[in-house]
């Protein structure tokens, strides 16, 4: 069975919670005791509906009080064909960083559009962030079709508007579905009211959409997380490099280069779960042994000798600022790329990205919470990377404030 991770962005008003509630309800993923609790609470909040589905997803007291989603919640459901992980993310611009967090490692974005309102600033923001993150599939759910008399023209117009707006965004695969989450139409079952729509229902779409597994076909990258050295009598010389295959495949006997050292050696053995294996591919957690005794440690990157990787101290990146405190020039930061860490400073802020139209505006030297900027970074040590477009695993990093230890930015290497 396959695993699909997707995110939904939006607010209660957009019908997001209702939509998620539908998916969970109709896939029998909500237990009766939880429904009972919800019914009790829904009565307490004085909501007209039998069950206020937002209460299901908004798990924090503050969220229930304010009726908004503040932070990401993860929800799970399974069908005969797939296991799904939903990152339910907030829609408000003030919680952009939380949306970015939930969206970051998903394969599909569900962007909700209220059929009455069409494309809004929020639609644009969510689409642009999906574009920056390189989300492989975008599904635009044109929701609340029941409130526009199931009018095909409304649907067509929104679809046209969206395609026009998103032309510049390089979105990979864009699909559209007309739905009414409230009535359940086109969520699980097709609807007579929407008979003019011949495509898949949301459920069918989720079960059928191709999961890209991009990293399987990319250049091979492995990063060391931890060095296993038992130092016991019988395993005296054992030295295994534990980590995950970030992309591509690695084979026993393969000639490799270790970065940032740039020294060459050969893979002498690959182990997984106590057994020796010949080959390992993207996503697998393994232990690699090398022919030569080199200075390989946590954060070292292993690359086949016949493949290239960038390795340098100067980077051009797009970052999303996530700290409540604005960026300060000269601020000392730590850059973390998977398990690799090095000190870093922002050399230059090239421009700011307008998150509602994707245009670049001149930087005034500041970066505030939730802003996207193009910057020049300088690191203390060489970092081995690919552009994010080429490889989502080696082209992504976070910035950590050295004083507060907080994660202050997420970055993708251009």
């Amino acid at each position: 069975m396959e695993l699909l991770r997707f995110f939904t962005a939006g607010n209660v008003d957009d019908g997001k919670s209702t939509l998620i509630g539908r998916l969970l309800f109709d896939s029998n993923s909500i237990s009766t005791d939880i429904i009972e609790t919800l019914t009790r609470q829904s009565k307490a909040t004085g909501n007209d509906a039998d069950i206020d589905l937002a209460l299901l997803t908004d798990g924090l007291r503050a969220e229930r009080e304010q009726g908004i989603t503040i932070d990401v919640a993860y929800k799970y459901f399974t069908t005969e064909k797939r296991k799904f992980i939903i990152a339910d993310t907030p829609g408000h611009s003030q919680y952009t960083r939380n949306m970015f967090t939930g969206a970051s490692n998903t394969d599909l974005a569900i962007i909700l559009v209220d059929a009455r309102n069409g494309i809004t600033d929020q639609t644009k923001r969510h689409s642009i962030i999906s574009s920056i993150l390189g989300i492989p599939h975008i599904l635009v759910c044109i929701n609340k079709m029941d409130l526009v008399n199931y009018d095909e023209n409304v649907y067509n117009q929104i679809q046209e508007d969206y395609l026009k707006f998103s032309k510049e965004l390089n979105l990979k695969n864009v699909s559209f579905i007309p739905t009414s989450a409230l009535t359940g139409e086109n969520v699980v079952t097709n609807s007579e009211n929407l008979a003019w729509y011949k495509g898949a229902s949301l459920f069918e779409f989720l079960e059928q959409v191709e999961i890209p597994h991009e990293e399987e076909n990319q250049d091979s990258r492995f990063q060391v997380q931890y060095v296993i050295r038992p130092q016991t009598e019988d395993l005296h010389d054992y030295r295994g490099y534990a980590g995950s295959v970030l992309s591509g495949t690695f084979k026993k006997g393969q000639e490799v280069q270790i970065f940032p050292l740039e020294s060459k050696t050969t893979i002498s053995k690959i182990e997984q779960n106590g057994k020796e294996i010949i080959e390992a591919s993207a996503g697998e957690s393994i232990i690699i042994h090398l022919e030569h005794d080199l200075d390989v440690s946590r954060g070292s990157t292993i690359v086949p000798l016949n493949q290239q990787i960038e390795s340098e101290k100067n980077l051009e990146a797009t970052i999303c600022w996530m700290d409540n405190k604005a960026f300060q020039a000269g601020q000392k930061l730590i850059l973390q790329q998977n398990s690799f860490r090095t000190k870093a400073i922002v050399k230059e802020i090239d421009s700011k990205i307008d998150i509602h139209n994707f245009s670049e505006i001149e930087s005034d030297g500041t970066i505030q919470l939730n802003e996207f900027c193009k910057i020049q970074l300088k690191t203390a040590e060489n970092i081995s990377f690919d552009s994010y477009k080429k490889n989502r695993k080696t082209g992504a990093f976070i910035l950590i404030n050295e004083n507060t230890n907080n994660t202050v930015a997420a970055g993708i290497i251009n």
């Binding site: 237990s31 929800k75 490692n105 931890y226």
Partner: protein
């Protein structure tokens, strides 16, 4: 990769991040199925090396003997270090009020012992088997969940956790709770137990047990901590435990599940959630879990 392979790889990746980022991590082990899976995953992550952390158990004194026996045997078989600290000792040392009522729970009290053991060994990371599908406050928590010096969780100050890059940088005195199987559901855990042939304590499978049938229909094990009175309805039924917590606040479910396969079909059929079926402590209020976490609970 199959979804269980993906969940497994993710958990191993997280365990290795803990080993790589922290000086004094610990794995919180209860003898329950989730922490048993964690130990199994740790074997995959670190063998042939030793675990880079001890197993730590906060023994409430109300644990099931089967779970305790399992715990001791496992630590011995694996030749890994096991640290046990007792809530009973904390109650005496700190002069705390023991759990009250018909079913005296020490669930709240174990937070004290947990915080003490963290301080005693200066643990900077505690790995736990909590899952996001258990409860809606848990659904909001990060995989690396930073706690302050008092062990408190502040849902408003959670660090963004982007891609699978985990920031475990903390100051001295703080600690991080790490949840490698955050993205697993109860069913995933059982499917994994089946696939990996993991041995579990016997109370997970059906057995005959004398129970008190409570007013709201829960089956509570009769034991020395619960005083029987004449109105109690005592029944003997074939039951099993879906979660293994304190015997004073974990109820049994009627079951004829003799094997892991039986349990899997039972869970697929059941309409009641894991915590709803078995935990009295979460019924207290809507935000019970959120409040306990804020106070330092797992």
């Amino acid at each position: 990769m199959d979804y269980l392979d993906q969940l497994e790889a993710e958990a191993i990746y997280i365990l290795r991040e803990v080993a790589g980022q922290f000086d004094r991590p610990a794995l919180l082990f209860s003898g329950g199925k989730d922490s048993i899976c964690l130990v199994h995953l740790a074997l995959k992550a670190f063998r042939p090396g030793k675990f880079p952390f001890p197993l730590v158990h906060v023994d409430t004194g109300h644990n099931f003997q089967e779970a305790l026996d399992y715990r001791d045997l496992l630590a011995k078989q694996l030749d890994e270090k096991l640290i046990v600290r007792y809530v009973e000792d904390t109650i005496k040392a700190k002069n705390l009020q023991d759990g009250k009522g018909k079913f005296p729970s020490r669930n709240g009290l174990q937070t004290y012992t947990l915080l003490d053991v963290i301080e005693e060994f200066e643990f900077d990371a505690c790995i736990g088997g909590a899952r996001r599908d258990e409860e809606k406050a848990r659904a909001k928590e990060r995989i690396f969940s930073v706690r302050d010096e008092f062990g408190q969780w502040d849902p408003k100050k959670q660090r963004p956790e982007i891609w699978n890059i985990y920031n475990g940088k903390i100051d001295k005195g703080e600690n991080v709770r790490v949840f490698p199987i955050s993205n697993w559901t109860e069913l995933d855990v059982w499917n994994y137990i089946k696939r990996e042939n993991i041995v579990l304590p016997s109370i997970y499978f059906t057995h005959e047990r004398e129970c008190i049938l409570t007013e709201n229909g829960q089956l509570m094990n009769t034991n020395k901590f619960v005083e029987l009175d004449e109105n109690d309805v005592i029944v003997t039924k074939n039951v099993r435990y879906r979660t293994v917590g304190d015997m004073t606040c974990t109820s049994a479910v009627e079951s004829e599940a003799y094997t892991v396969d039986d349990i899997i079909s039972e869970i697929k059929e059941t309409k009641i959630s894991e915590r709803g079926a078995t935990r009295m402590d979460d019924r207290v209020s809507e935000a019970a879990m959120e409040d306990r976490k804020k106070g330092g609970y797992f």
